[in-house]
Symmetry: C3
Subunit: 270 residues, 3 copies
């Protein structure tokens, strides 16, 4: 696990290596995801056709599967891409957007988890709970008010799914089933811009692409960089609204310095 004094170094590595992140994501957030990854310094690519997803996934640094506006055709392509990534040793990051909101989403999340080896799964508490068969309230694709012990949920989910689990909300929890970390950075304005969760998942992909062995460390670095940038943006756009915040956030992802991430990060091991 990253010592606090090391946090920030993977951000430099992302900017230096510019990893190719293959996103199979939803139509709402494609533009924001690409712009966020570019701003950060990574190389986004979007490809969906079953004729090419395996080829693209194999040459990527990470594959991100996001089921925000899934169709059966896309699910099929996601499985093809996921299997190709698995074979090529490319880490797969999964965002089960809206799991639990409809039976189709619940079933799709489980099918993907059954057929593809996932390195990291990120969702809000309701989505992660649904994926592991727990029943937490959810309305649409946005997070329900969180109740219960999120740390317990994250640990349990990580153990059951044999993957690193990220539960985001007012506080973010990361667990590999053994340890758990709480990150208290971020800003409430993130909830007023669509796709900030989805982009975070893709940013995790960029960090895991440059640190494939110590996944928990990569995830923690990704969360800290992302949320410290959000804090900088909220300062910049203070008194404005979500339009100004979104603009300032893209600027901040571009400018945030590893030293700012290191000094601003609030990570606590549970």
């Amino acid at each position: 696990m990253t010592a606090q004094k090391e946090i920030g170094h993977l951000l430099s590595q992302v900017r230096q290596e510019k990893p190719l992140v293959h996103n199979m994501t939803n139509v709402v957030v494609t533009n924001f995801t690409a712009n966020g990854l570019l701003a950060l310094g990574a190389s986004p690519v979007m490809a969906y056709a079953k004729e090419e997803v395996a080829d693209m996934a194999k040459i990527a640094g990470a594959l991100v599967l996001n089921m925000g506006t899934l169709t059966s055709t896309e699910v099929e392509a996601m499985i093809i891409a996921g299997k190709a990534a698995n074979e090529a040793g490319v880490p797969v990051i999964f965002d089960p957007v809206g799991a639990g909101a409809t039976p189709f989403r619940t079933a799709t999340a489980r099918e993907l988890l059954n057929k593809v080896n996932i390195a990291v799964i990120r969702g809000n508490a309701a989505e992660i709970a649904n994926v592991v068969g727990e029943n937490w309230a959810i309305k649409g694709v946005d997070a329900a008010p969180e109740e219960g012990d999120v740390v317990t949920l994250a640990k349990m989910a990580a153990k059951q799914l044999k993957t690193v689990v990220v539960v985001t909300g007012v506080q973010d929890v990361v667990s590999d089933g053994d340890s758990a970390y709480i990150i208290t950075n971020g800003h409430s304005m993130l909830a007023n811009v669509t796709g900030t969760g989805c982009l975070l998942t893709s940013v995790i992909g960029a960090f895991v692409a440059v640190e494939k062995k110590r996944i928990v460390e990569a995830v923690l670095e990704a969360l800290c960089a992302y949320e410290v940038a959000a804090e900088l943006a909220a300062d910049k756009a203070a008194g404005e609204g979500p339009g100004s915040f979104q603009t300032a956030f893209l600027d901040a992802l571009h400018h945030v310095h590893p030293e700012q991430v290191k000094s601003g990060a609030r990570v606590e091991q549970q």
Copy 2:
């Protein structure tokens, strides 16, 4: 009908209830639609797959059907969703983008109106005219210069379609077939940002979701809130261009106060 003194109260209700608005909209405007609804205080969700649209529509406060980049698969899913919404008493709002621009769009608009019970239809004069079989000039999906009597068109369309009709343009006209109202708020800069009409349709969905009985009132409140926000944004971004206006508009949707809507609204009954 809303007395002028009451205008603004539904905006508070939208922000309090945060209605889930299920959008089946075009790929051009999905991000802007989600961000606009979030900025306003509503909860957007996008879902397109025929496997899940009925489930999503049933739990939504309103269903918005927008045929801006329709495909035959999406039309099929829209009809499934629309019928499910009708059965569950969820109001359906319809935006016949580009009706008349191609035979496929004209036919689709009519098929949707035949198979789904629509609570509100919103379009520019050429689109609404096309839907009811009148012949007004149209170029692509943008409004042609308006000729003829828009109030007459709105009333006639509302009677024929047995729905509330909103014809937007330099002036906006709302009619339920009996009464008609003219709203003269708004700003010309709205025409320089793509999806401002589509987002308005979804915002109407948010207002109708919290006031399902008095539809005309909900629509008028939606239009006033939306266009007063546009005026605030235009003031803020004066001398800049459509990029700055779009940012300021999202900010304004977030900040516009019911009292500002009440004092700024210019609604006239015909």
Copy 3:
């Protein structure tokens, strides 16, 4: 060829005629493309369904085919649209996004070039090289560092494809196979915003729509207007990041004056 003293006049013509540009583009950039064209003064329309693309292409001033997130269904529709445009004398502009990144993209680019008569093709050096069977490095859909003689590449590609070729990068090269022009306007910040290449292709469509005979002239005017606007935006957003730049760029596309394009353009004939 445009004398330097005439550069800028087609921008006025685009704003006056507001040509309808039919875009069949990728899901990442649809919103930005529509907003960029609107900001400039053109009329964007997006239509993808095979049931309507021929009808839409025929009434457009130009058809833009962009294979950034292609699927086999969309390729089929692009060919239908392209053939309809050819029959109607509507110029077709082609953006082979990511050609060479996967076999599917390489094959699709060639299929489109075989079946549709293309007026202008625009890509980075790796994409253009792939299309004509040369082997330049490419990673994902973003330009690889350019090596070799881009002018030679552009001329050779134009001769082979019998079309006007635009190779964009740090410098942009335009060739019809005989002459070649180098444009040195633009700004590095363009590379930090997704879709700036795709939007440029669509802007070329808008200029060719109003000057169908002198294609090279139209392309040069498009590039100069676009990149002088980028320079204005970079000045405006100096010290900020890609979020602010994108906003300023849309503003600049709206405000850039033909006289600014004329005085700022740096075009050199080779």
